[in-house]
């Protein structure tokens, strides 16, 4: 009733009330508004430098010296015409120098025939497996020159005896070192290499048979 009487004032009240409500809502919105207001001084300079750090250095080429391959001289063991070991067989046959032997001579020994005479000898060769010194390996793997020996500049020679089975593989159990000078340096490498060698099996009467053979490996430094 009074409001109707005061229509002249009504607009004024309306305006002012809108102002007040507006201010109230502003206040509320500011309360809600989670604006992080950072008060920065104008002279405070914050500079972020974002760039990739580059660490360039000279390319260093590594000079690798190739390890000198050890000279392997596969010398087929010089044998007397009697079965090894030579020392035990005193047959009076003069030692023949190794280089004079032509390579195509078949030095096959039939140990079976000598069996009776060799009975007194401590031979651990089974007579069924015969010696065959001319058989060259089909694939041969050169042993690594042992580092220990290389560092000490030790040269040496290893003579290995082993049995090649029907398939041309080297039998691991049969591997024996007849001679190794100096001992304890080359054996393991030689064994590792020899076991990877392949031979042509000895064919006798149309059948592959295992045979016993020897290999001499020489280790020499190339100076």
């Amino acid at each position: 009733m009074i409001l109707l009487r005061q229509t002249s004032k009504l607009s004024l009240f309306l305006l002012t009330s809108t102002g007040i409500v507006f201010i109230l809502f502003l206040f509320m919105s500011q309360l809600v508004d989670s604006q992080v207001t950072t008060n920065l001084e104008p002279d405070a300079k914050i500079s972020l430098q974002l760039h990739r750090m580059r660490f360039d250095s000279e390319i260093q080429t590594r000079e690798r010296q190739k390890p000198e391959p050890p000279e392997l001289e596969d010398v087929t063991e010089q044998q007397d015409l009697v079965a090894p070991p030579k020392q035990t067989l005193k047959l009076g046959v003069p030692d023949v120098a190794a280089p004079n032997v032509p390579s195509n001579i078949n030095l096959a020994l039939d140990l079976g025939s000598l069996d009776g005479q060799l009975a007194g000898l401590s031979m651990d060769t089974t007579p069924s497996i015969e010696f065959e010194l001319t058989m060259a390996p089909v694939t041969r793997v050169n042993p690594m020159y042992p580092l220990k020996a290389k560092r000490r500049r030790i040269e040496g020679k290893v003579v290995v005896e082993f049995i090649v089975d029907e398939e041309g593989r080297v039998e691991k159990e049969s591997l024996k070192f007849i001679e190794s000078t100096p001992p304890g340096f080359f054996e393991s490498n030689v064994k590792r290499a020899i076991l990877r060698w392949r031979f042509n099996p000895l064919v006798k009467g149309g059948q592959a048979t295992p045979f016993r053979t020897r290999q001499t490996l020489e280790f020499k430094m190339q100076s």
């Binding site: 005061q6 009240f13 309306l14 109230l24 809502f25 508004d33 604006q35």
Partner: protein, 175 residues
Amino acid sequence: MQPDSTLKVSGIWPDAETILVSLELFFRSGGPVLILLAFVGLALWMLLLERFWFRFAVFPSRLAACRRLESLKARRLQSCDLTLEIDFAFPLIKTLIAICPLLGLLGTVTGMIQLFDVMSAKGTANPRLMASGVAQATLPTMAGMTLAVTGLLCFTWLQRWGQLQRNHIRDLTTI
């Protein structure tokens, strides 16, 4: 939810544009109940302002006029009118103040309903979708509280003043 324009803030007081943007954001995320609340606040403050006007501009002169009257009879009539006018719109103001938090609560409920709708549709995997519902639930509540508190402050002050004046007028008429 955040506006794309980066808000530059210079010192403590944000500039007008920032304020308006945040207000717009406030209303947009508050939902329809917030607008309803704004209208209720408008009515409430209109009535309160009218009361203030009456208290500072109208009432003193009326009281003086009443005092100047010679006859006790006329003075009583005038004082009765005055006491009635003191209490004018007080019940309405009280109702509006009581309505404000309730409307806020309504906003809470509607916002929650919206939130659950979103959750039933999209699951709880995306919190950003739920954020709008949460905002609708919380902002009207806050607005209702604020309006009720500010209105109640002024209203109690006016009520107290009215009580005093009524006693005063009663003393004036019983002489």
